[in-house]
């Protein structure tokens, strides 16, 4: 009887699964769902076709929205091309195709405009891109918010922006990497610490971008000459020049230069690139989970040490910063001897203190700042000192010299991906 009940239960569960899945699948195939649209915080009432989710993208009846924006609409009867114009900006699209033009530039819309209930619906994000309107989506409220102005809360207060910035100046390296990921080409950016003007892996995306000098002392005249509509700086580096920057253009600050995930979310919000950041972070989290799964319980039992040799001959270990934060996210830990001594970084002055650098794995991102190789001679002095060979990582052949750009200097999401790649390499993971 019990056996029969189990079979019945199994059968019932199978039926429940089958019938439960069918509507879900059918719904997924042709998902359309009406959504609420707010413009500058006020709900917009649409007659006829409503704003709606189609295949996961938000579409709006363009004519009704254009009227709300007080934009001009023209449709060419022969080509069926529609142009919406506002304040010198425009979008040109044709129903049924993703090929469009935004402000004179050929683009692919995230979905082809469709005809529905005597209206043509276009992806709302394209309207936002064309006219510098922030578009944000609340899945829980099924509401899309369009905002023509934005007050950005940042590390040094609040700054009001009148439209999505188009001429952006970037004052720290991690944000330069972030801007490339988000597809926002700045008009000017500080130069990289090595491989000037910009790190080689970013250079193809930064052709024509004005080099604004060092991150710690950016060229203020150069910034002003670019007539930016936004400066992205970091309190950690630029608090003292904030008054000067704010006189040139609206300026926003991140708290620091190395909290790359927070900085990515911040930039995506300010620059209206939320979906790209969300997609990146979803993929990142997937990779982190994969790494942890492949490492198994070993990861939480593995101590890592992140070090470098300084140009003055001292060594340094880090328990805070770009690489340490990623290693912590992955589940590694730092030696107690290090965390007991400092919250962030610590210089190790003498060779007698060599054991402070030890862990199961040592990653060394010594940088040849001057390009003369002198720092590598100093690094060799550390490696040749008698206490070095006693380090656990050295004995076990787990001392690695890593790419300083990816592990320390760049500090953005694209560099983070490369660092994670390196960890797959070093831990022999597929």
């Amino acid at each position: 009887m019990i056996r029969m009940n189990k079979r019945l239960l199994g059968f019932a569960l199978s039926l429940a699964l089958i019938f439960g899945l069918i509507p879900f699948t059918a719904a997924s195939a042709a998902t359309t769902q009406n959504v609420t649209l707010n413009l500058d915080g006020k709900k917009v009432a649409f007659t006829g076709a409503q704003p709606q989710l189609i295949g996961g993208k938000i579409f709006v009846p363009y004519a009704a929205l254009a009227a709300q924006l007080k934009a001009t609409v023209k449709t060419d009867a022969a080509s069926k091309k529609t142009t919406i114009s506002l304040n010198g900006k425009s979008i040109v699209f044709t129903p049924g195709t993703v090929n469009a033009t935004i402000n004179g530039k050929a683009v692919k819309l995230e979905g082809a405009p469709v005809s529905k209930d005597k209206s043509v619906l276009v992806p709302v994000r394209s309207i936002g891109d064309a006219f510098g309107i922030w578009v944000s989506w609340s899945g829980s409220k099924k509401t899309v918010d369009l905002n023509r102005t934005k007050t950005v809360k940042h590390a040094l207060g609040e700054t009001k922006l009148n439209g999505v910035p188009q001429r952006v100046v970037i004052l720290f390296n991690g944000m330069v990497d972030t801007s490339v990921l988000l597809g926002v080409k700045p008009v000017g950016a500080v130069e990289s610490y090595l491989q000037q003007p910009f790190y080689e892996y970013l250079r193809p995306s930064l052709i024509g971008v004005k080099d604004l000098g060092d991150e710690t002392q950016p060229n203020l005249e150069g910034i002003a000459a670019l007539k930016p509509d936004l400066i992205i700086a970091s309190k950690m580096r630029h608090e003292k020049i904030n008054d000067q920057l704010s006189k040139i253009a609206p300026t926003v600050h991140t708290e620091d230069v190395f909290s790359w995930q927070a900085n990515l979310k911040f930039a995506a919000d300010v620059l209206n690139k939320q979906p790209l950041a969300d997609a990146y972070l979803a993929n990142w989290n997937k990779r982190v989970a994969d790494f942890k799964k492949k490492m198994g319980s070993k990861v939480s039992q593995t101590e890592v040490s992140v070090i470098r040799t300084n140009p003055n001959g001292t060594a340094r270990f880090y328990v805070e910063g770009f690489a340490p934060n990623i290693l912590l996210d992955l589940g590694f830990k730092f030696p107690k001897t290090q965390t007991d001594l400092t919250q962030d970084i610590m210089n190790v002055a003498t060779k007698e203190q060599t054991p402070l650098l030890d862990a199961d794995y040592i990653f060394d991102f010594t940088v040849d700042w001057d390009g003369d190789g002198a720092v590598y001679k100093l690094q060799k002095e550390w490696i040749d000192n008698p206490l070095w060979k006693n380090l656990k990582a050295v004995k076990n052949k787990k001392y690695y010299k890593v790419n300083a750009v990816n592990w320390n200097l760049s500090g953005g999401p694209l560099a983070a991906q490369k660092m994670l790649d390196d960890l797959y390499f070093y831990f022999n993971l597929e």
């Binding site: 193809p204 006189k247 797959y424």
Partner: protein, 176 residues
């Protein structure tokens, strides 16, 4: 045939090929003209270069496919060196070189400088993997190679971000 014998044969073949190549160089043009990364012809060929020349190309669908395979081989190489498995390291080095040979021309078009570095690193791996004298150096080379392969793969797959245009500056009343 044992690995040692195969390696010996490879060296003999390499020497033979090197002799043929030097005989042809003056009449058939330089490496640059053939689109392959240039290795100065005036310098004597290294042992690694000879070994490289003797290896048969291992075909791939395209550069991206070949680079994906190489990504796996270079990881296997690094692991073998760390585990003192010379035989596996030699095999991985040969797989790397064979796969590279089949895609080198295509890869050089993507990034000539990186392609040249890959070739040079492969010479070193082939030369030193048979008799490992400096494990640390080989791990460092494999790391360099790993990064080059990754960068080339990104280019082959076109996954690098594209250039964006920037609008003209507008005068602002608030921020002149």
């Amino acid at each position: 045939m044992s690995r040692k014998h195969r390696l010996l044969c490879a060296v003999v073949l390499a020497i033979a090929f090197a002799g043929l190549a030097s005989g042809c160089a003056s009449s058939s043009g330089s490496a640059k003209e053939s689109g392959v990364s240039a290795i100065p012809t005036s310098e004597p060929a290294s042992k690694g270069e000879d070994l490289y020349e003797a290896i048969a190309p291992q075909p791939s669908t395209d550069a991206a496919d070949g680079l994906t395979k190489m990504n796996g081989f270079v990881k296997a190489y690094k692991q073998a060196i760390e585990e003192d498995d010379t035989s596996a390291a030699q095999q991985a080095a040969q797989d790397l070189a064979g796969t590279w040979k089949a895609i080198e021309e295509e890869a050089a078009k993507l990034d000539g400088q990186r392609a040249e570095t890959v070739r040079g690193d492969l010479f070193l791996l082939l030369e030193q993997s048979g008799e490992v004298k400096n494990k640390d150096q080989l791990v460092d080379i494999s790391y360099s190679l790993y990064q080059m392969i990754r960068d080339l793969k990104e280019k082959a797959e076109g996954s690098l971000p594209h250039e964006e245009t920037v609008p003209e500056a507008e005068d602002s009343e608030i921020y002149p």
